[in-house]
């Protein structure tokens, strides 16, 4: 139960929680995009472009957390 083991545990838990966050976030985004495209099929292309941009930004935020987890996981 020393600091290194706790660090590894934290890395694993952190990665899992980060994925929960991004899964929920991008899932909601995709749901909104689907609904918008269904309501207005002519706007589907614009919605798709905005969806991809927003997904990349949300994922960027998640990857901040992943970088922290990686730093914990590769520490000695």
């Amino acid at each position: 139960m020393n600091a290194l083991s706790l660090g590894y545990l934290a890395a694993g838990l952190g990665a899992g929680m980060a994925v929960i966050g991004v899964g929920l976030g991008i899932g909601r985004l995709a749901a909104a995009a689907m609904e918008g495209s269904a309501r207005q099929p002519t706007a589907a292309n614009d919605i798709r472009t905005s969806m991809i941009i927003a997904a990349a930004l949300i994922e960027g935020a998640t990857l901040f957390a992943i970088v922290v987890c990686l730093l914990l996981a590769i520490s000695k």
Binding site: I52, I53, A56, G60, L63, V67, I74
Partner: protein
């Protein structure tokens, strides 16, 4: 194709060391999926991951070795008298170690793997663009048409974010950033190449370029006085006691946006490679029979990575254009409000500053 040929030529010409893992066991995966990136990585894994051979033992070490920088290139070629898949080229030996002397401080500037990758990306991009633009025509066709489409795409990003009259000044920088990041990202997906943008120093450099261009654009548009005035965050001089809080916070806020650009690009590139390496490493840690599933999943992640390479280059360029535009737009609004009311002109200032600063995520 040309890159594979260039890799072979490089390996042959420079003379290499044989790899320390001498037995090269025939790979079932390499035979089945000849020519794919995963197979070559698996081959390198096998040679490097065997217990007691070379310096790699555990999967995390192999993963870190593949993703991080170093002064060795591993290319296929003839070394030690026979054809090897991963001959090591020690850059420090080949170049004798480049050192930059700044007064008393010595900075080690020996080329590293990622630096060589950046050179390759720049060289490929330059040659491609020279070749493409030598066939200029009123009605473009072929590869020239494709590149013109891409540059037009970047110009549309600039116009959308910076405004029609200022966009053309910044399109050269934005197009350079877009193409260089795109080619550096894509280069990492080829066999025997590494992703230069998976190095935080490289992405910090790109973000610093954006930072300098943004500040230059803001200072040029508003003047140094106007620029410093905007660092107060729109708080009028009547509330000057707030400035000791506002100015440090706004000053730090100047740096969070490039920091986000850095980490976003770096983490996206590293994460893709890590997942592929981890999936392929499962073949070695669990059993060889998970290979079909593992390679299939790694292939799916590889295609996702290809998509992410394009998207991240686009996002970097778009956010750079957004930050440049945000620095410029203050000039126009400020100009209008100066001619209007004198005292209350700053209250709407605060709201538009708050509204214009984009999210940092």
């Amino acid at each position: 194709m040309t890159l594979a040929a260039a890799a072979l030529a490089l390996g042959l010409a420079l003379g290499q060391h044989p790899p320390e893992a001498t037995p090269s066991r025939p790979d079932a995966e390499a035979a089945a999926h000849a020519g794919t990136h995963e197979a070559h990585e698996a081959a390198a894994h096998e040679n490097a991951g065997e217990a007691g051979h070379g310096e790699h033992h555990s999967l995390p070490e192999v993963m870190m070795h593949h993703v991080s920088n170093g002064t060795e290139l591993e290319l296929p070629g003839i070394c030690g008298g026979s054809f090897e898949w991963n001959c090591r080229i020690d850059l420090r030996e080949k170049t004798g170690g480049w050192v930059l002397n700044l007064g008393g401080v010595k900075i080690d500037m020996t080329p590293t793997k990622h630096l060589v990758m950046l050179w390759v990306a720049a060289a490929v991009l330059t040659l491609l663009l020279i070749f493409v633009s030598s066939r200029r025509a009123i009605v473009p066709s072929g590869l020239y048409n494709f590149f013109e489409m891409l540059v037009q795409f970047v110009r549309d990003i600039a116009v959308a974010n910076i405004g029609k009259n200022d966009a053309d000044r910044f399109v050269p920088y934005l197009a350079s950033a877009f193409f260089f990041i795109l080619f550096a990202n894509l280069l990492g997906l080829l066999p025997f190449m590494a992703t230069a943008t998976a190095n935080i120093s490289v992405t910090v450099a790109f973000a610093l370029f954006t930072f300098f261009v943004t500040q230059y654009a803001a200072i040029k548009a508003q003047g140094v006085g106007g620029y410093l005035k905007h660092l107060t965050g729109g708080v009028p001089p009547s509330l000057a006691w707030l400035w000791p809080i506002m100015i440090p916070v706004e000053f730090m806020g100047l740096f969070t946006k490039p920091f986000a650009l850095t980490v976003r690009l770096f983490a996206n590139m590293v994460a893709g490679h890590f997942v592929i390496l981890a999936l392929l490493g499962l073949i070695f840690t669990i059993s060889v029979f998970v290979a079909p599933v593992s390679v299939a999943l790694a292939l799916a992640i590889f295609l996702l990575e290809l998509f992410v390479a394009f998207v991240q280059a686009y996002i970097f360029t778009m956010l750079s254009a957004l930050f440049i535009g945000a620095g410029l737009v203050h000039h126009d609004e400020h100009h209008d409000e100066e001619h209007g009311h004198a005292a209350e002109g700053d209250a709407p200032h605060a709201s538009h500053v708050a509204g214009k600063v984009p999210g940092h995520g």
